[in-house]
C-alpha cells in the first residue's frame, strides 16, 4: 500500500464529506493527484448508494412488531437451567474474546488459540485417563474401547497388533471380574479358555459362566462336534450379584481340527470340505500338500474362519502347539485317549499361577484335581512340570516341582519324553519323584505315568 496515497485519500474523503470539492482536494496533493482522482471518483460513486432518508412508517411498523415479539418471548417459559448455564458460558466466552480483541487483536487471538488448545489437551488427556479405569456400563467406557480400537488399528506391525489384542482381551476378563466383585448387573462380552464344563456351570478363565436353556452355543464348524475344555470361547452374557455370568451366547473362537487338504489357494484353503482363510501371518508347514492330512489351528471370527497355522501331521511337535493350547483333536475319542496321551516335561520360569492353569515361559499347563504341586513355589521360580497331552491338545500337569536345573540352566526346555530306558531305575533315588506305588496312587488315571523319565545324570551334574 502506498502510505502517502492512502493518507491523502483519507484526508480527501473527510474533506469531500465536509463539502469540499474534488478539485480543491486534489490541489492539496499534486504529486498523487491522478491516482487520487480515480479513487475519489470511486468514492463519489459509492456514496450514491447511501440513503439519508429513513422510512419512518416502516420503522414504526417494525417497532410494533418487535414489541409484540418481545411480549411473546416474555410469555414463553424461561429457558431451562442447561440453556441458562450454556448462555452464561457463551456470554463469558464472548466477553473474553471481546476483551482480547479490544486489547490487541493479534496477540488476543494468539493467546486465545493457545488457551483453547491447552484446555482441549488437558480436558481430553484427563478424559482418557479417567476412561481407562471405566467398566462396562460406565459413560466413559465407549471412549476406552474407541481408544483401544485406534491403538490396535495404528499398531506398526502385526506382532504388536496381536499383542495389543491379547492385552485388551485380558482387560475384558479383568473388567468382568471387577463387575462380579462389585455385584453389578451388566451386559458383557469376553474371551477366554474354557477351563471346565460341569453341570453347575462352565468356568472360562476362572469366571463361572452359567448356561440357561435359551443360551445359544455357536460352533460354526462341522468338523467340531462339541465344545470342550481347552478351547477358546467368547462369552456374551450378563453379570449378576451372585458372582457369576449368565451366558446368552457362547461362540467358539480358537480350536484346531484334523482334516485332509482338498485344495490350496492364495487366500484360502479347503480342508475336509471346510474353507479357511490364510494370510501371510498363517504358519504353513512346507510339507503340506493336497491329499495330505493336516492339523489346522483356527481362529473363528464372525466373518469366517482364519487359519492361524496349518501343520503337517507327521511333523507336529508339542512345542509347535499354539501357546494357549486351545486345540482339540476331534478324532481322538474317549477310547483312544489312554493310548494317545503321552507324558512330557517342561522346565522353565513360572510366570503365572492361577487355580486352573499355570504358565511356564509362555506355555499354559492346566491343573487337575490330582496334580501334585510342590510347596513354596512362587512366581519367577524355575520349575519342572511333568504333564500329559490331552485328547483335545491341551496340557495337563501331573506334577510340578522346583527345578533343580535352575542353577545350571535357566533356559526353558520343552522336549518330548525320551524313550524309556534303563537309566530310570538308576536315577530314581536322586529324583524327588514319588515311588512307583505313590505315583500310581497319585495319578490313578495316568497308567503310563510311571514311565515318565527324570533328568539324566549328565543333566543334573554337567561338571
Amino acid at each position: 500500500m502506498n502510505r502517502r496515497l492512502a493518507d491523502a485519500l483519507e484526508t480527501c474523503i473527510k474533506s469531500l464529506q465536509a463539502g469540499v470539492t474534488l478539485e480543491e482536494c486534489l490541489n492539496q496533493y499534486p504529486d498523487v493527484a491522478p491516482q487520487l482522482r480515480d479513487l475519489l471518483k470511486t468514492v463519489e460513486m459509492i456514496e450514491c448508494l447511501r440513503v439519508e432518508k429513513i422510512p419512518v412508517e416502516s420503522m414504526t411498523q417494525n417497532q410494533r412488531e418487535l414489541l409484540s415479539h418481545a411480549k411473546k418471548l416474555v410469555s414463553q417459559e424461561k429457558p431451562g437451567k442447561c440453556v441458562a448455564v450454556a448462555g452464561r458460558i457463551l456470554a463469558f466466552r464472548s466477553m473474553i474474546v471481546q476483551t482480547f480483541r479490544q486489547a490487541k487483536p493479534i496477540m488476543g487471538r494468539l493467546v486465545m488459540a493457545f488457551a483453547i488448545t491447552g484446555i482441549l489437551i488437558i480436558f481430553s488427556g484427563s478424559l482418557l485417563i479417567v476412561s481407562a479405569k471405566s467398566l462396562p456400563g460406565d459413560s466413559l467406557y465407549p471412549m476406552k474401547l474407541a481408544v483401544e480400537n485406534i491403538r490396535v488399528h495404528l499398531a506398526p506391525s502385526e506382532d504388536i497388533r496381536s499383542e495389543y489384542e491379547d492385552h485388551y482381551s485380558q482387560q475384558r476378563v479383568l473388567e468382568v471380574q471387577s463387575l462380579l466383585g462389585l455385584g453389578r448387573k451388566q451386559e458383557i462380552s469376553f474371551e477366554g479358555i474354557l477351563n471346565s464344563m460341569e453341570d453347575t456351570g462352565w468356568v472360562v478363565n476362572g469366571i463361572t459362566v452359567k448356561l440357561q436353556p435359551e443360551t445359544v452355543i455357536m460352533i460354526g464348524n462341522n468338523a467340531i462336534r462339541s465344545v470342550e475344555p481347552g478351547m477358546k470361547v467368547e462369552v456374551d452374557g450378563i453379570t449378576n450379584e451372585q458372582g457369576w455370568v449368565q451366558a446368552e451366547e457362547i461362540h467358539l473362537r480358537e480350536y484346531h481340527y484334523f482334516g485332509i487338504v482338498d485344495a490350496k489357494g492364495i487366500d484360502g484353503w479347503e480342508i475336509s470340505g471346510i474353507n479357511v482363510r490364510v494370510s501371510s501371518s498363517t504358519h504353513i508347514d512346507s510339507g503340506v500338500q493336497v491329499g495330505n492330512e493336516a492339523e489346522v489351528v483356527i481362529r473363528a471370527e464372525d466373518n469366517g474362519m482364519f487359519a492361524m497355522a496349518i501343520l503337517s501331521v507327521g511333523q507336529q511337535k508339542p512345542g509347535s502347539a499354539p501357546p494357549q493350547s486351545s486345540t482339540v483333536d476331534t478324532k481322538a475319542s474317549e477310547g483312544d485317549f489312554a493310548e494317545d496321551s503321552e507324558e512330557l516335561q517342561i522346565s522353565g520360569k513360572v510366570v503365572r499361577i492361577s487355580p486352573f492353569s499355570w504358565t511356564v515361559d509362555g506355555v499354559d499347563v492346566y491343573i487337575a484335581n490330582d496334580t501334585h504341586i510342590a510347596d513354596d513355589i512362587k512366581l519367577g521360580d524355575n520349575i519342572t512340570v511333568i504333564y500329559e497331552v490331552e485328547a483335545n491338545g491341551s496340557f495337563t500337569a501331573l506334577e510340578i516341582d522346583k527345578s533343580r536345573l535352575s542353577d545350571q540352566n535357566d533356559d526353558t526346555e520343552m522336549q518330548p519324553t525320551p524313550e524309556p530306558g534303563g537309566d530310570d531305575e538308576g536315577l530314581s533315588d536322586m529324583s524327588d519323584h514319588p515311588s512307583e506305588a505313590e505315583e500310581t496312587e497319585a495319578y490313578p488315571n495316568t497308567p503310563d505315568h510311571e514311565e515318565t523319565p527324570v533328568p539324566t545324570e549328565s543333566e543334573l551334574d554337567p561338571d
Partner: protein
Amino acid sequence: MMLTCQSLGIYNKIVFQQRGENQRLMSDESSEIDRLSTLDPQIITAIHDQYFPDVYRFARFRVDDEVIAEDIAGDVFVCLLEAVHSGRGPTTNLRGWLLKTTANIVNDHYRSLYKHPVDDSSELQENARDLFISQDDPARITDEAEMRRSIQAAMETLTHAQKLVITLRFGNRFSLEETAELMGKNINTIKALQFRALIALRRRIGSDLT
C-alpha cells in the same frame, strides 16, 4: 409517528455525542444491554429507535431494494431479542453486534439469491413504479438504477472485511476510528482495507461509470 420523529432527533443527538464521547457511550451501551435483558418495552423501543437508522442504512447500502432492506433491519432486532432472551446476546458493544448481524443477514440474502435466482421482472416493475410516481427524467432514473446495481454487484466481489469497511465508512459515514472500534481492528488495518477495496472497486466499475 410523533414518537418516532422525536426518537430520530434523539438518535441524531446521540450520534453527535458518540463521535466525541466514545467512552461514555460504551458504558451507556453496557447499561442498555443490562436493561434489555428484562425485555422491558420502553428499553426495547429506545434501543430500536436509537439503532434502527444505522442498521437500515447499512442494509440499504448493500441491498438495492428498499423493502428487503426494511425486512433485514426488522430481522436484526428480532435476532437481538432472541439472543438476549436465550443468554447469547451482546455483552459490551451493542452497535457492533447489531451491524455485524446485519452484515450476516445481508450475506444470507445474497447467498439465497445465488441459490434461487429471482426473475428480473420484479426489478423492472420496481423501476416502472419509480418512473410512474417520480417527476424526474425517466432516462436519468433508469441510469441511476443501473449504476446502483453495477456498484452493488461490484461490492459483492470484495472480501467480507472490505465490504464491511466500505459500508461502515460510506453507507453509515462512520469515522476511521469508529469503524476500527466496531470491527475490532486497528486504524491502520482499516485504512489499508479501505484503500485496497477502493482500488478493487475502481478496477471493476471505474471505466464503465466515469
